[in-house]
């Protein structure tokens, strides 16, 4: 019981879990709520206490007398004690933040299993939290709710794609195979990225809607940019001029269009989607070829015009000659002769 109370006090000293404990306290009557909060706290801090004994030990209830003695002993150098104390607290704050991050990740990953049933919602997060052994109210630590779940999933997909493409390129380099044509590489990369949505296809339109909400928009734009940048980089693009933007913009547009097609595709293994993707990539490559041809033609034209101007200036450089025009008055006039 003393151990449980200790754990509860440590639990309550952290503001985020304090709110959660408070919420669980209020949800039901006092005694079951308090007991559930303390049980959750003891489970949460079961391993945390073992791991970071050094920092948490300073706040233990067990040794108040020892602390009083240390307080009196270090009474003189308050300044240094304060610095080391704040360093300890900072270390503990960071350890606490990391622990919170890890817990969030665990809940998010687990919540993905419940998405086909509950959709991208707080219910899925609550189910995930419970499956991880936490209270359902722990889903309250996700302030943006279902949006965080979608953003997490998209980020995980991008990470997985990055690993896949890096491994494939490393393998190609090792076997010294020829680099595949860029269009084929792009098609395969986009196909494998879109296939990651298949398990959640029924609910993907909801996810796309969530990604367009104002709170998710910065994150979703960032993630899309990272995705297309990664794909182009792995495809071998090393451009440092405006092509950087045109290529990535083009690929982002193709990806978004294909994603939309995939939502309403009912063909076998999404064949229509992949053929749509191939056609869009073919159009894009034709467009870039046409653009480069236009640029070359334009440059040739400019050079031609400059050459013509130089030729004309050389040929018709005027030579000024005095020409007599009035014999009697002996007047001459300056005339330009080419």
């Amino acid at each position: 019981m003393a151990a449980l109370a200790r754990a509860a006090l440590r639990f309550l000293s952290r503001p985020s879990y304090g709110c959660v404990a408070g919420a669980s306290f209020l949800q039901s009557s006092v005694r079951p709520g308090l007991a559930r909060g303390i049980c959750t706290a003891s489970r949460l801090f079961g391993d945390a206490g073992e791991k970071s004994d050094g920092t948490l030990g300073a706040h233990s209830m067990q040794e108040p007398q020892l602390e009083n003695e240390t307080k009196e002993a270090k009474h003189e150098d308050d300044g240094s004690r304060k610095t080391s104390h704040s360093d300890d607290l900072e270390g503990e704050a960071i350890a606490g933040e990391e622990f919170e991050e890890q817990t969030k990740l665990r809940v998010l990953n687990r919540a993905l299993e419940f998405v086909p049933e509950y959709g991208w919602s707080m219910e899925a997060l609550a189910e995930g939290a419970e499956a991880e052994g936490l209270s359902a109210a722990a889903a309250g630590m996700f302030e943006q709710g279902a949006v965080e779940l979608v953003v997490h999933f998209v980020r995980e997909c991008n990470t997985q794609l990055r690993k896949q493409l890096t491994e494939e390129n490393a393998r190609l380099q090792q076997e010294q195979d020829e680099q595949r044509p860029v269009e084929e590489f792009l098609r395969d990369a986009l196909e494998s990225r879109l296939r990651m949505h298949i398990p959640y296809m029924d609910r993907w339109s909801q996810a796309m809607g969530l990604l367009l909400t104002p709170q998710a928009l910065p994150d979703s734009v960032c993630l899309l940019t990272e995705l297309v940048d990664e794909i182009w980089f792995q495809a071998g693009d090393r451009s440092t001029d405006f092509n950087w933007y045109t290529r990535r913009g083009l690929l982002a547009a193709i990806y978004s269009a294909t994603e939309l097609v995939m939502i309403q595709d009912s063909s076998e293994d999404y064949e229509e989607t992949w053929s749509f993707l191939e056609h869009r990539l073919a159009n894009a490559s034709l467009a870039t070829q046409a653009a480069s041809q236009v640029k070359q033609t334009g440059e040739s034209l400019v050079q031609g015009v400059i050459g013509a101007a130089i030729t004309v200036s050389h040929c018709s450089a005027p030579n000024f000659v005095w020409v007599p025009f009035h014999k009697a008055q002996q007047k001459c006039v300056l005339v330009a002769v080419s």
């Binding site: 006090l9 706040h59 704040s86 960071i94 940048d229 440092t240 001029d241």
Partner: protein
């Protein structure tokens, strides 16, 4: 209740727990330093490099060298066949080498180029050609103005990196110092070749410097 537990230091960030209300997110001044340190650790990544700062520096320097390349191209188009042609060509070649270095750094660190590159392309060429049409002195005045702004800019960047953590940016610092010295040399060359005798030198210099500073501000962000 507090009396029983007062001996066991229920504190958070150096303040007693009972003072810390859940809706109070105010942090005392003495706690700012530790908060800033932890934030910097967040932004620093695994090797302590501030990626946002690195991207900004490489992006704006690449834009600057690109603009300088186009500037010298414009000057060369007008004065290339004249007596200062070889001098302009020499400075142009050095700027091309700078541009290549920044392109390599850009690819290595996966930094995006500025979206305003087409504008700097045209603007740089026009400013170079325009000042060169004012004569050799005009071209040299333009060089002096631009190189002064760029040297200051490199100095500011070097100072920022030294304040952050010089060990993590050794290669970049080396590059910036060398390029800053090159730009100062161009500045001195411009002064040697009668830049101050250009028509409206003071006005020309101020205008060009204002434009350069605006370009630097925009390229860092866009």
């Amino acid at each position: 209740m507090l009396g029983r537990f007062s001996s066991c230091r229920l504190v958070l960030r150096g303040r007693p727990l009972w003072r810390y209300r859940s809706n109070e997110t105010r942090i005392e001044p003495e706690e700012w330093e530790s908060v800033e340190r932890s934030k910097r650790r967040e932004n620093g990544g695994s090797d302590g490099v501030d990626r946002a700062l690195l991207c900004r520096i490489i992006r704006v320097d690449h834009a600057g060298e690109y603009g300088a390349d186009r500037l010298y191209a414009g000057q060369s188009a007008v004065l290339g066949r004249g007596p200062v042609g070889p001098i302009i060509q020499k400075m142009w070649d050095e700027e091309k080498a700078h541009l290549q270095t920044f392109e390599e750094l850009m690819v290595r660190h996966r930094v995006r180029p500025t979206a305003l590159l087409p504008i700097w392309n045209v603007a740089g060429f026009l400013v170079g050609a325009g000042t060169a049409l004012l004569g050799k002195e005009g071209a040299m005045a333009c060089t002096v103005a631009v190189e002064e702004v760029i040297s200051d800019h490199y100095n500011n960047q070097i100072r920022t990196l030294m304040e952050q953590n010089p060990q993590h940016y050794t290669e970049l610092l080396q590059v910036l110092k060398k390029f800053r010295d090159d730009e100062m040399e161009h500045h001195d060359t411009g002064l040697e070749h009668d830049a101050e005798q250009a028509p409206g030198y003071a006005v020309l210099k101020t205008t060009i410097q204002l434009g350069c500073k605006a370009a630097i501000y925009l390229s860092e962000r866009i």
